[in-house]
Symmetry: C2
Subunit: 554 residues, 2 copies
């Protein structure tokens, strides 16, 4: 083990955000993992289903003597839970989570066959003893219930991890942040703070979830037709708020969207969501009721074409259809990268006659992450010696670091790192250590990690300019073409209108076959065709030739 007397903090494999999806905390040969999340592909990552952290380094360390005592999942969002199946496949250690998080993890673990795997449910406030670490969990507010931050007592000192959080004084579930615990940590002395940086470039204080009530109230009071509220399936408190508004305005509530139905089932079973049974109606019954008596909860706030709202926008939902007079509330913000799709969805819904309410038209969504004033409060509550901004892109971490410096934490006591860079912590020193092999792994269909840069580059080229394949059969005796070369092409030109171009290609091949003297005929044909296609179209399709010398069947 390098630097045995130091605590090692290693954020692993985020795509853009640092320390969000997975983190290793290690002291000598003992470690714990915090979170096992997935990332979603960016717009130019063609064909990728999702992305998991590259944790091979952790697995390799097991052979060097590392023991991982457990995996703690801080809350139930996909970017913290989604890779649990992949991680347990390689690292079957106990998992620790609060009840709601565990309920959601169970579904994922089951789909990977980890049915009997130890999953320990704890309550915020419980202490987890994992090897040399004693982890004091504490309640935080976020856009899913039952999230926790961690006070990790380590041999070098107390390390506090905020997890994703906001300081909501009036959360929908009535469970405010655990300020007392934070104050107590401060009294004992905090060696280092790892804190959520997502909104570190946003001034002020993120509004309470409660402000949504007012916006819902206004919309519900005015709406004459159906109301459709789209939000994240995991935003349990928002679903609760819609239920309350529905009751107040005498509407029944239906739920459309498989994932939301699942979340509601788990959250209701575990007591995080309270829906009076007479409130709920199935979608097909809602369809038969007068429009002003109905509110429909739906998935698809990110414009995903296969989710409910996307299907409604394109008129492709099996049970539901947008009608003139519907009010659609987009109770979510576009995740960066999804803006185009979200805006297109809104325009399509308007086209079909819906009145669409979204931020900034009304305050129908608030972020689940703390802004600058909250971040300042957290730092001043804890007064940590060392500061490590996490959960955000490099630009957010940088702003968070500047903010901490404004509050008096010296620059040399702050570490802004990227995923795969280790931080080494001793009672009196914070160092950035080695960069370990890390990064992220693409999951595409059944393939985990088999799609790398070469395949991605080919997809980009194919997506941009398509391909051309030709079959060239040559008479072995005469050296002449046996038949006109067959040309197959997709994504390059519209073949039915491009017969001139295809004939040119065939003539070019004939000419090359006639004149060819040495070297590979295949390469000569491919090169000549590539060149010709570029000259004629200024496009660069991938070009392949099958060339064979044969005798023709008689």
């Amino acid at each position: 083990m390098p630097n045995p007397a130091k605590l090692r903090i290693l954020p692993l494999g985020g795509l853009g955000e640092i320390g969000k999806n997975m983190m290793l905390i290690q002291y000598e040969n003992d470690g714990i993992i915090i979170d096992t999340g997935i990332m979603f592909p960016e717009n130019d990552m063609l064909g990728i289903d999702y992305i998991i952290p590259d944790f091979q380094y952790v697995i390799d360390q097991l052979e060097e003597g590392l023991t991982v005592h457990g995996i703690i999942i801080t809350h139930g969002h996909e970017d913290h839970t989604g890779a649990i199946g992949h991680v347990l496949d390689a690292l079957p250690v106990p998992v620790y989570a609060t009840a709601l998080t565990a309920g959601l993890l169970e579904i994922k673990m089951r789909s990977f066959g980890h049915t009997d795997h130890p999953l320990h449910v704890f309550k915020a406030g419980d202490v987890l003893r994992l090897g040399p670490f004693s982890v004091e969990t504490f309640h935080v507010c976020h856009s899913i219930p039952d999230g926790v931050g961690l006070g990790i007592n380590t041999p070098v000192g107390l390390v506090v991890h905020s997890s994703d959080f906001k300081f909501d004084h009036t959360p929908v579930d009535g469970w405010p942040p655990d300020f007392a615990r934070l104050a107590e940590f401060a009294q004992r002395g905090v060696l280092a703070l790892l804190a959520d940086s997502t909104n570190a470039d946003q001034e002020g204080w993120t509004p309470s979830e409660r402000v949504i009530d007012r916006a819902f109230d206004e919309v519900f009071a005015r709406a004459k037709g159906r109301i459709i509220v789209a939000t994240f399936a995991s935003l349990i408190s928002r679903i609760q708020q819609v239920a309350q508004a529905a009751q107040k305005y005498d509407r029944k509530m239906a739920v459309a969207g498989h994932s939301m139905v699942e979340y509601i089932k788990v959250a209701t079973r575990l007591g995080y969501l309270k829906l009076p049974p007479d409130l709920m109606v199935p979608v097909d019954r809602a369809n038969k009721m007068p429009p002003h008596e109905i509110v429909i909860m739906a998935t698809g706030t990110q414009g995903e074409p296969s989710a409910v709202l996307g299907r409604l926008a394109w008129g492709e939902h099996r049970q539901l259809e947008i009608e003139r007079g519907d009010t659609v509330i987009m109770s979510a913000h576009p995740i960066p990268g999804n803006e185009e799709l979200v805006h297109r969805t809104i325009n399509k819904l308007i086209q079909r006659g819906a009145h669409v309410i979204y931020d900034p038209i009304a305050r129908v969504h608030v972020s689940g992450h703390a802004r600058r004033d909250e971040l300042k409060l957290l730092i001043n509550l804890l007064r940590p010696k060392f500061f490590i901004p996490v959960h955000g892109e490099l630009r957010h971490l940088t702003q968070h670091s500047l903010l901490a410096q404004e509050l008096g934490i010296p620059a040399q006591n702050i570490a802004v790192v990227e995923n795969g860079m280790e931080i080494l912590l001793s009672p009196d020193r914070l160092e950035v250590g080695e960069r370990v092999p890390g990064g992220y792994v693409f999951v595409d269909g059944k393939g985990v990690g088999d799609v790398g840069p070469i395949v991605m580059r080919d997809r980009e080229t194919l997506g941009r300019d398509g391909f051309v394949s030709v079959l060239v059969l040559i008479d072995a005796e005469t050296g002449e073409l046996i038949e006109p070369p067959e040309v197959i092409s997709r994504g390059f030109v519209f073949l039915r209108d491009a017969s001139g171009l295809i004939e040119m290609a065939q003539e070019r091949i004939a000419e090359i076959v006639r004149r060819h003297e040495r070297g590979s005929l295949t390469v000569a044909i491919q090169d000549a065709l590539s060149k010709m296609f570029y000259t004629e179209t200024k496009r660069r399709p991938m070009t392949f030739a099958f060339v064979r010398e044969v005798s023709m069947a008689e």
Copy 2:
């Protein structure tokens, strides 16, 4: 002509925004065109270079007797000028523009060979007489100098078109909006107003360009190293502001980026930009000067990998390199859809040691479009009888319509339409008429309109899952395979690691050839391979087979 006694307003071929890129104003057989702009492809429009309005309908109308008396270009942005070459190819009528706009148009017209085409330069305030229309031009403020709005006197009444605008009381060029002309229009009575809706969902008043000075001042005062300011090449006033800051803080200015150099050349020649000659230095000289004496203007605010900022972020610029201590100012907002790329660029610049300043960290950019309070002022200044929101997506037009209703314009006097839908205007009535064939046309390399939905869908499939081509040669006498089928594949799996899969495919082909009895062997092989690939990988590559019966050469 349908409805001969009515004025016809026809917005043409925007992708998402309505009436922005091109518009036909027609009365009986006489028409004028306003703007000839391009659109930029969205993230899922793979391989498309740019998009032009589909104006075939206008061309078809020429045979029905329509005379187009001229094309008026309101300002020099690409989304209003970029398609001029394409339009003049089919519709060689005179073009009218202010000096700066004309200077920029000339370059585009030249590249399409329209060197001697009539291009009439007017000054804001001039009146253009085009057939039955007398068009009173008036100065507006926007994010490029020398923009105009239009007061179009038509046989049915005065129609005012705001063009892209903001009410900037303190513009950088000292040329405020022409309120007097608007007041005068109001006195004469405005039949209809067409107004910019881009920011119709934004409360308040767009800040003056002048607020940027303060932000620049703060950054320039503090920066110890080089300053690199990235902005739009056409944002002439921003370049002027950087020049002023540079002079104040004793820095020399260099310009990197072909398009910005071009814009600066035209704007300087025509007097819209005033750069003291001793201020400017070439990039290679700037490289040899002390960092605190230099500011570099650069293109690439949208994260375009081939623009200057993109190259700097990825360390691929020929002349420049980011150094620790550089300050980069992103003096632009991401255009929706570009957020991911912009954020990636910022993170990369930070990684290379730059301090990056962007909104919301500091107010280093403001929009060029009016917000709600300005839109209200425009409507109340003009008090039009009819209102037609334009320049924005459907969601913006809808908000703009609601805003106009708040100000007392009755809903039936407002028309929210999409591109290709005609508006018919008489002195006492506003109607939405027919939908004409319209839309947009993809430009890809040399091809204009040859890439349609089928090619695009193929590109999407190829981009997501790649393709497989196989060559199957069968002995005509024995019916057996002459050689193991050759498999070519790209974008599907990494071939070097997929030999097992390739062998399975070869075996599957052999089996089919052995058992095949009737129907097309090609189709049987393609179907079987597609199925096998999906079962094995959960991916769906396009699959093609060349099948031939031959005798082998001996």
